[in-house]
Amino acid sequence: MIKLNETPVRTARNFNINNIKIEDISLKNMLKDFENIEVMLPEEVEVENAISNFELKYGMNEEKINEVKENANHTLKLKIAGKVKEQVEIVANFDDENVNLIQNIEIIAQENSKANIVLKYKSEDDTVNYKNSIIRIKAEKNANINIVVVNLLNTSSTNLLSIENEIDEGAVLNYIGVDFGGKNSITNYYSKLNGNEAKNNIDVIYLGKDEQLFDLNYIGELRGEKTQIEIEAQGALKDRSKKHFKGTIDFKKGCKKAKGNENEFCMLLSDNAKSIALPMLLCSEEDVEGNHSSATGKVGNKELFYIMSRGFEYKEAMKLLVRARFNKILEKIKDEELKNEILEEINERLN
């Protein structure tokens, strides 16, 4: 067993949330090239060769970070300058020839730049896949970056994702995470809002079925004055799936007039699904506003009744309600094709 995804602050061990233990997968001898990966880069985006040396503050754990540093079979460093009109796309399709992806991505959004970036990971068959990726983003002064990360792996795979962002003065980073795949899907997301008036919007949807386990750890550290972070998570769990949602807003000393909001809602679609949430607020600054809310419950009987009275079957009615919850976030995705693909996946996974 391997211990991953530690929370920034520990709590009692028997609350079972400080980290996640999963069966370890050692890949060094099995790792082949991953060829089925498409990278679509508009002209304004430069590719640089050398990935910077880096230390992640959090990430999965030391061993998994080193796995990426030493063995990545896909590395990419992008430099974004100016306003990029077309979408940057990185699409990895997993199959029996492309099984394991160890990925290292670095994105530098230069001053005043603007870009939309999509990363999609999809299983084409039932092969057990393994993905361990690190994405680092530096949003320089007044940059405006929209990034969508979509996990459509199958439910027997492993998905490890570590993200670390540094956001400078006036820069805005909008992140959308769509997390549907993986027997174990583990995300460690850390944003450091260094510059004054830096903003980070984080929208996450997760959908669990079978025995899937999601361990989602979102950490926002507010350092600059008037910085803002918004975390919105909407999830649905069916069968025996389970999720841990750990969301931390950390107001560091000096982040005067900073604001942080976190809202998490989990729909339980089965009596055997389990949801643990740890919405943390850490505060060392007086002049701030921090709020969090979290709610868990089953699909409302009234809403179900209303939809079913309009002629829908129970399963369809439930799908509609889950989609209605997710739509708030999905509407923010500008790529219509991608949005439709996600909606189709929701239908399929809820069948």
């Binding site: 602050v9 520990r10 709590t11 009692a12 061990r13 609350f15 079972n16 949330i17 400080n18 107001f251 000393k253 005067k256 989990c266 339980l268 679609l269 089965s270 009596d271 055997n272 699904a273 389990k274 949801s275 643990i276 949430a277 740890l278 919405p279 943390m280 607020l281 850490l282 505060c283 060392s284 600054e285 007086e286 002049d287 701030v288 506003e289 921090g290 709020n291 969090h292 809310s293 979290s294 709610a295 868990t296 419950g297 089953k298």
Partner: protein, 466 residues
């Protein structure tokens, strides 16, 4: 000028030190011999001595918590775990030695007994020095006595309940408590008896470099009801004192218990206390908790809702100032159908103090149609203080309604402006807002204690804001 003067304020009545006079004080440290000596001094039955020794083994086998405040300054070799005061147990204040009686007089205990309580227990260091209850309750079969008397006189009742709600291996400091416990109160309210006027136990630790480990065991039998109040304080010394009490509450079917605490330990105290309630069918336990003192506090009262329709409410406030790290909260386990819990927690951090709200709500698979609602608010009075909220919500069934809300922030500038435009000074406006913030908690207390709490807030705030 006012501010400077008030920062040097003492905590008046709470800080009054009596001479460290005692009949017996055990040597510092924690060994088998010391435990055997405590048991001998207390003239206990053999089962209790064996229980203590087993608890010591458990203590030695457990690690310190890997989370929460740093406890490295606690050195059990520097703590005397048993101090017997120079007083026997009395049922009349006249028989209590003068200096001890004076202390409780100044804390207002005998006066409160006359005006608003149905019974009082007073513990000084490791032993209870006074216990009394109104005659009519005795006639109704209510038992309210010190734990030592209960062990001797009601051995069967004690033995089936003692450390069954809080097992000795729960955590390291429960094991410590099991090994060295002394004093505390035992309450039994028979079936159907409603005790309308509260009972109160007050715990005072006077002796330096010592610990207090009182055990409170309350059984509210079927259909009965009780309001129990616990107060605690100690004068300040330079070296740490330790409080590792244990409260076990058995609230049987259809019974009701309200457990109120005003904790005002001195600011050299490590308060590592454990409180737990087992709640039966359609029974209810309400916790009201004010936490003002201690250097470090780790206190998370817990309700286990075992009976169908069981309910619990927690209403708590913490106020941390210079040098204080108050890590408090609440735990609830929903373990039966139709159970419900409501949590309302507030905290205030000032002058470099740290407040942490740490909690657990667990709704088990069998707790269908249960409801839980949690609200916590934290107020920061300056930018050198810290306030953290660390709640865990563990939901294991779909048929629930669960919601959690938390807020953190400073006193609203608009509210201060509004009050100042009505003629208040800035300091008074802020103090009024803080008292208003604490009001939902103080209104849950009996009037005299609400007044005490407001006085404590005023005392703590003066010199802190402005």
């Amino acid at each position: 000028m006012k501010k400077k003067k008030l920062e040097e304020i003492n905590r008046n009545i709470y800080d009054i030190k009596n001479k460290d006079e005692y009949e017996f004080k055990i040597q510092k440290g924690l060994t088998r011999e010391i435990i055997e000596e405590i048991s001998k001094q207390k003239n206990e039955p053999e089962w209790m001595r064996d229980f203590r020794l087993k608890a010591l083994d458990v203590y030695n086998s457990l690690d310190l918590p890997t989370w929460g405040p740093d406890l490295s300054e606690l050195d059990m070799n520097e703590i005397a775990t048993y101090v017997r005061p120079k007083s026997k147990l009395n049922s009349s204040w006249e028989d209590v030695p003068e200096d001890i009686k004076n202390t409780f007089d100044k804390l207002g205990i005998p006066e409160a007994e006359k005006t608003s309580l149905a019974g009082v227990g007073a513990q000084y260091d490791s032993e209870v020095v006074y216990h009394s209850m109104k005659e009519e309750l005795i006639k109704q079969g209510v038992i309210y006595t010190d734990m030592e008397t209960a062990v001797r006189e009601y051995p069967d009742l004690v033995r089936i309940h003692f450390m069954k709600c809080v097992p000795v291996n729960d955590h390291k400091f429960v094991a410590l408590h099991g090994a060295v416990w002394s004093g505390g109160s035992f309450v039994y309210v028979p079936k159907g008896v409603k005790v309308d006027i509260p009972l109160q136990s007050y715990f005072r630790l006077n002796s330096p470099e010592s610990g207090q480990f009182e055990h409170t065991l309350i059984i509210v039998d079927e259909g009965a009801s009780l309001h129990f109040i616990e107060g605690c304080s100690a004068p300040k010394y330079n070296k740490v004192n330790l409080h590792a009490g244990c409260v076990e509450l058995f609230v049987k079917d259809n019974a009701y218990l309200r457990y109120s605490t005003i904790e005002n330990w001195s600011k050299n105290m490590l308060n590592l206390n454990t409180k737990k309630a087992l709640v039966g069918k359609n029974a209810k336990v309400d916790w009201v908790s004010g936490s003002f003192g201690s250097k470090i506090s780790m206190l998370y009262p817990m309700s286990i809702l075992n009976g169908e329709g069981a309910k619990t409410e927690f209403t708590g406030i913490s106020l941390a100032g210079t040098g204080q790290n108050l890590d408090n909260g609440f735990k609830v386990v929903h373990n039966a159908k139709n159970t419900s819990s409501v949590v309302n927690s507030k905290s205030i951090s000032k002058n470099g103090g740290k407040c942490t709200y740490r909690s657990l709500v667990r709704i088990n698979e069998n707790a269908k149609n249960s409801k839980s609602s949690v609200s916590c608010e934290s107020l920061m009075l300056d930018d050198i203080s810290i306030s953290d909220t660390i709640p865990v919500n563990d939901i294991r069934t779909d048929d629930v309604e669960f919601s959690h809300e938390a807020k953190i922030g400073k006193i609203s500038d608009k509210a201060i402006f509004y009050l100042m435009s009505r003629g208040l000074t800035e300091e008074d406006a802020k103090a009024m807002i803080v008292r208003g913030f604490a009001y939902p908690i103080s209104k849950e207390l009996p009037v005299e204690y609400a007044v005490e709490m407001n006085n404590l807030i005023n005392l703590e705030l003066e010199g802190a804001i402005g």
